[in-house]
């Protein structure tokens, strides 16, 4: 048996109680991602060992789902709602504005890994359309100008919190 690194031991501890052939793979990946923010190659190997699956199998599953990451999360993750109700409220312009200010494309982080825009899926809060989730926080009734204010703050080095404050401020003031 190979000597375990500390990281491996930690991951293994996280997977305590999960077994092969017990419908546990998603649970294992959720636990890993919750703890580390993403599923590393090492984690895939350990998950595979724990559940009696080839690492390639675990890799195949991990990359299949939109929510599992194989790279560390950026400081600011913007899940832009791709749903129909948001779209009717011109969310496409908001996406283009975010992409332009942050100089990234949907699904591709910036080189420094500071921010990333992903597709969010409608969860039935369409009364707040158009909306996005920023680090899982709901940002409702976005307008292009407010999105730009938020993104500019981020691009200028603001933290997620500060950028959201800029967004909220633009809401109160009526305009950015």
């Amino acid at each position: 048996m190979p000597l375990e690194t500390e990281a491996t031991a930690q991951i293994r501890a996280l997977l305590d109680g999960l077994k092969p052939n017990d419908a546990d793979l998603l649970e294992a990946l959720h636990r890993v991602q919750h703890r580390y923010g993403y599923v590393s190659a090492e984690a895939m190997r350990v998950v595979g060992e724990q559940l009696g699956l080839a690492t390639a199998h675990v890799y195949g599953a991990t990359t299949y789902y939109a929510d599992f990451r194989t790279t560390p999360p950026p400081q600011t993750l913007i899940a832009w709602c791709a749903g129909a109700a948001c779209r009717l409220k011109r969310s496409d312009g908001i996406l283009r504005a975010l992409e332009a200010v942050l100089d990234i494309r949907l699904g591709e982080p910036d080189p420094q890994h500071r921010y990333e825009i992903t597709r969010g899926q409608c969860n039935g809060t369409c009364e707040l359309a158009p909306m996005a989730w920023v680090n899982e926080r709901v940002v409702a009734r976005i307008t292009p100008a407010r999105a730009i204010t938020f993104a500019r703050a981020l691009a200028a080095g603001a933290s997620t919190e500060e950028a959201l404050t800029a967004f909220e401020h633009s809401l109160e003031g009526g305009n950015p």
Partner: protein, 646 residues
């Protein structure tokens, strides 16, 4: 009765007695109680800060008031909501509540009735002069009495006691103690005419018989709570608002089929639903409703929650099974059907949340009762969620067959009086029908089918005239491409092709042969393995049939009437005297607005048509039709497809 059975009966009686006392004091509390709605919609609208503010204010005043928990009743545009219950049993709903209303609500609760008049919606119980009943609100005008939603807005969704006191688990208890056999249960479902609520309408009793008669006694139940159709959130209401109803339904299905373990697969977007269902399972297990020898019978049944991770096709039943079973959630080839080889290749029954949740209602009240509402061909009720360009966004429980014009009317009509353009029911695979068919449509599959569409799983999106059909197609095709599992070239490649064609048309690059090619792609898609690929061309076909002129206008006349498509629209400075133009120039993310001696000007080749400038200078800048040949920055015109590795 065996000793186990009689002691189980005793402990159920005990739980009932305790629950009833609990429920009585909830309905008529010793001192006023403020319940804050904590469901995904309410929380997203700010229920958390509202709760904190009420808590703080209540502590500061040492008010003789308690706080409780509930879920919203469907009026989502009035979120977040709270309800106050007084010792006399009067229960009043308020919304939209902001943290600054905390004081007024406490005043109202402690006797200064009328203090929160501005945010009073109506009464949920009892009466109050001058205050209407919540369910008299026109939004609910098509409801005929809540069955699945009976507890929504009344109980604490995390309380087993509230569930039990309101008749919960009595259906299972009666079923097991009176030895109502599996056949009788299945027959009750057939007599009631219960069909699958996930969109395919297969009779539940028949499907349960497939499982009950499977050769292998090791059988599984799967509950499909993947609810991936954008605009549909009907399952979420039960999962978050009345999770024990689902648990009880699955116990009944287990008794009817001989399954001993069930998986409840809940989509990643519903973390609160996952938590509430997990908690309900723990409570039901502790009470002896789940586990071995439930209610002292011979029956063993356990349930577990599987958390999804973001994949639309995992809602397709075989994709769901693959996902549960440790892998990529790719739909399989049928046959074998789940009833023969499902989870771990064992016989499996897959049903939607609402399907299982209806079973306790049928067992408790009888098939006859169930059929009293609905239509001849579709009995009972179903939950629907309404969104889009309407005044009132929310959910209701309706009998099958309600005419769609009444539904739209209940939703307050279109927002701002914008005319209706189209109806998109049932998600990306179900269809896109024009406003002129509205009067022919009812909430019933049969009225949609002749037009090449479906009602689907319960989400209804009303679309106004400021939306473009080509844009709708590009949006849905992109969704379907992104969510294709990649097994079939027809599906993955076909949806990719469809997306490319619609996007090219949007950028003013439409070609005469596109219509033919789209039809060809549609035919090819039909040969895909699962319904995801097979039904992908539905919206496209509806569009070519019902919105042909609009489509042709893009391809041949170079116009997009709704001014949505970036290749046919542009922003232009129309009034140089608007003093807000400098701010518009400053907000522009692409420096597309220049200023020279003649004033402000927008450079089309730089403008990504985001709309920020018009938002800030609505008088000075307008969106208008672009003359042929107007440049548009192509590379920035769309988000690139997401980075999913398939």
């Amino acid at each position: 009765m065996t000793t186990e059975a009689s002691s189980a009966a005793d402990s159920f009686a005990e739980l009932r007695a305790r629950s009833e006392a609990d429920w009585e004091s909830w309905q008529r509390p010793i001192r006023p109680r403020i319940d804050i709605a904590l469901d995904t919609s309410s929380i997203s609208a700010g229920a958390g800060p509202v709760r904190d503010a009420i808590e703080r204010e209540s502590r500061a005043r040492t008010a003789a008031v308690d706080l409780g928990r509930m879920v919203g009743v469907g009026l989502q545009w009035l979120n977040p909501v709270v309800a106050i219950t007084w010792p006399d049993g009067t229960r009043v709903l308020y919304g939209p509540v902001k943290p600054e209303h905390a004081g007024a609500l406490l005043d109202e609760a402690t006797g200064r009735v009328g203090a929160a008049a501005a945010i009073t919606i109506g009464t949920l119980a009892g009466s109050r002069p001058g205050v209407p009943r919540v369910f008299d609100h026109p939004f609910f005008s098509n409801e005929v009495g809540r069955r699945l939603l009976a507890r929504i807005g009344y109980t604490d969704p995390e309380s087993l006691e509230h569930y039990v006191a309101t008749g919960g688990y009595s259906a299972v208890q009666r079923m097991l103690t009176r030895h109502q056999g599996p056949e009788a249960i299945r027959q009750a479902m057939l007599d009631a005419g219960l069909t699958g609520r996930g969109g395919a309408y297969f009779p539940a009793g028949t499907k349960w018989t497939f499982l009950a008669t499977a050769a292998n006694p090791e059988r599984y139940l799967v509950c499909n709570a993947d609810e991936g159709d954008p605009g549909a959130w009907v399952n979420r209401i039960i999962l978050e608002g009345d999770p024990h109803l689902l648990v009880e339904g699955m116990i009944i299905a287990a008794a009817a089929t001989g399954a001993r373990h069930g998986f409840i697969y809940i989509r990643a977007e519903y973390p609160l639903a996952q938590a509430r269902v997990k908690q309900a399972i723990e409570q039901a297990t502790a009470a002896g409703f789940l586990g071995t020898g439930v209610f002292g019978s011979e029956m063993d049944i356990t349930l577990e929650v599987i958390r999804g991770a973001g994949a639309y096709v995992c809602g397709e039943e075989t994709g769901l099974i693959s996902s549960v079973q440790d892998g990529r959630g790719m739909p399989r080839v049928k046959p074998p059907f789940p009833a023969a080889a499902g989870v771990f290749m064992k016989p499996t029954n897959v049903n939607n949340v609402e399907t299982y949740s209806t079973a306790p209602l049928i067992l408790r009240n009888g098939s006859e009762w169930y059929r009293q509402v609905g239509t001849e061909r579709n009995s009972g009720t179903k939950i629907f969620s309404f969104s889009g360009d309407i005044e009132r966004i929310g959910f209701t429980e309706l009998p099958w067959g309600v005419p769609l014009p009444s539904v739209l009317e209940a939703c307050g009509g279109m927002s701002g009086g914008m005319p209706l353009k189209a109806i998109q029911a049932g998600g990306p695979l179900a269809g896109y029908l024009p406003a002129r068919l509205l009067s022919e449509l009812t909430l019933e599959r049969e009225t949609f089918v002749p037009h090449g569409a479906l009602v689907g799983s319960g989400g209804i999106v009303f679309i106004g005239t400021d939306t473009c059909s080509v844009d709708i197609n590009a949006t849905f095709a992109d969704f379907l491409e992104d969510e294709s599992c990649g097994r079939c070239t027809t599906c993955h490649g076909g949806n990719q092709r469809m997306t490319e064609i619609f996007r090219r048309i949007q950028l003013a690059g439409g070609r005469r042969e596109d219509r033919h090619n789209l039809e060809l792609v549609g035919n090819t898609l039909q040969y895909s393995n699962c319904v995801h690929g097979q039904a992908s061309p539905t919206i496209m076909r509806n569009t070519l049939r019902f919105f042909s002129d609009e489509y042709e206008a893009h391809v041949h006349n170079g116009t997009c009437e709704a001014l949505r498509c970036t290749g046919f629209s542009r922003y232009r400075v129309v009034d140089q005297t608007d003093p807000r133009l400098p701010r518009a120039q400053a907000i522009c993310p692409t420096e597309a607005i220049t200023e020279d001696a003649e004033g402000y000007r927008i450079l089309d080749e730089r403008c990504i048509r985001c709309g920020a400038c018009e938002e800030l200078a609505p008088r000075g800048i307008a969106l208008e039709a672009a003359p042929a040949g107007t440049p548009v920055p192509r590379e920035r015109a769309y988000g690139s497809p997401g980075g999913r590795q398939r």
